[in-house]
Amino acid sequence: MGYVAVKGGTEAIEASLARLKYDRIKGEEIVEIKTVLATMRPLVDQVMSEASLYAPFLAALAIKQAGGSMEEAVFLLRAHRSTLPRHYYSETVDTEDMFVERRISASFKDIPGGQLLGSTNDYTHRLLDFNLVTEKKEDHQAWLRQFQEQMNEHDADKELQFFPKVVDYLREEGLFETYDLDDTPPKDITKESIQFPTGRSERLQALTRGQTGAVTSLGYASLRGYGQVHPTIGEVRMGDVPIHVKHPYEEESDPDDLFYIGDVKITEVESLVPVNVKKQNQKEELEFEIGYGISFGQNETKAIAMSILDQCLENSHGEFPTHDEEFVLLHIDSVESTGFISHLKLPHYVTFQSKLDSVRQVKKGGTTNDD
């Protein structure tokens, strides 16, 4: 399709921008960034995850500026990200170093270290809480004080616990294939467009920055029969992982001389997927493979759906779209999909007029250029 620029409309556009501002402020209420950060963390996490930029304050600002529109907030944060220089690559993050806030398994009742429910909506009644209409800060302060006092009563002389991965125990039992560390340098889809067939690093990067709704829908489609993956969750864990970088000029690589720069909160999922594997005697045997999902912040639905799609894309299957990497990876990006759909409402006068002319010709009994 050819594109033709339009011009004019400056005054109308300025007036439109004024109306946009009017709509944002006419209620004469201001949402503070700190309010968004303190009270809407899942929303902030989702924007960071889809923008592929961990920056809670900027994500909250984007949410405020966008008036709560997810697609606009993600677009704003991605656009801002493109203005910033990238100075460092982190050292490899190992999620066993996570300060775990939540860790559950749907496969095993008893996992080493135990299941920690942490903070979750999973067991709430999903009834609207009308007390929130009249809640007061004073009530919060009293509740928080009590919570803090309870926490301070704990014995501080214990050892801090780090939790092993559930899949590692299964590997030790020989139930899963073990892999050596693969140090192949990953590809970066923000530097180089995805090329098909993709490598594993490209797929995982594209999936983790995918739109939550799109990733969830395609993962769900696989479960419903438009794919061949139906997993059981081996482990969902959520918490903070430490990030380290090397000194940019020092050549010595003493790990104790790294910079610790802070923590990021992530959700990580390992799904256990049964697969039939043909053995040397031509008999099929049931084995398990692992689907991997991860997301910035706490976003368990997306991470679980990603683990399904990871496994789908590891095993291409012509019959199902969820196993087609081009279908999945090129349609889950928030900015690309909402941007393309949304551009359809922008002026397309010339191309549409040309189509109309063709239809008029046909109606008159003539021929079109396509004939």
């Binding site: 960071m48 942490g118 309870q150 926490m151 801090l160 104790d256 720069i261 990021v264 991997y292």
Partner: protein, 140 residues
């Protein structure tokens, strides 16, 4: 104290000790800001646990500063928009690179704060461990 442990304490402390230590250097030594605190990105490289391969998780916003103290250049890098902390970290890093005598005295303070941070984490974890669940399967 090596940089990894030092930066962990100074950042997890929320910048209180970093301010105190950097101010000692600023009072007693000339310092020169080579790069004022500015924002940039760090790409996070992660090892996935299914096939043990590497991939890029996404970027994180960082604040970075570079400061020269006593002919030694120090770098401060911290996640978030933390201009003051980045500058203080850079000054402290420069002080250690220059082997200023003050850094020897800081060891005790750093260890004390490290202990407090650790104990606070233990208490936080104990509170989280209250949500440890023991599901029981029912007879069908």
């Amino acid at each position: 104290m090596k940089r990894k442990q030092r930066t962990e304490i100074l950042i997890q402390d929320g910048g209180v000790l970093a301010k105190e230590l950097a101010e000692i250097v600023m009072q007693d030594y000339e310092y020169h800001e080579i790069e004022e605190p500015h924002y940039g990105l760090t790409m996070i490289k992660l090892r996935e646990t299914a096939k043990k391969s590497l991939f890029y998780l996404g970027e994180v916003l960082v604040t970075e500063a570079k400061v020269e103290v006593h002919q030694s250049i120090g770098i401060g890098i911290v996640i978030g928009m933390e201009e003051e902390l980045a500058k203080h970290l850079a000054i402290i890093d420069a002080a250690y690179r220059a082997e200023l005598p003050e850094t020897v005295e800081w060891q005790e303070k750093l260890e004390e704060v490290a202990k407090q941070i650790y104990q606070q984490k233990v208490k936080q974890q104990a509170e989280i461990l209250k949500t440890k669940v023991n599901f029981e399967t029912m007879e069908v």
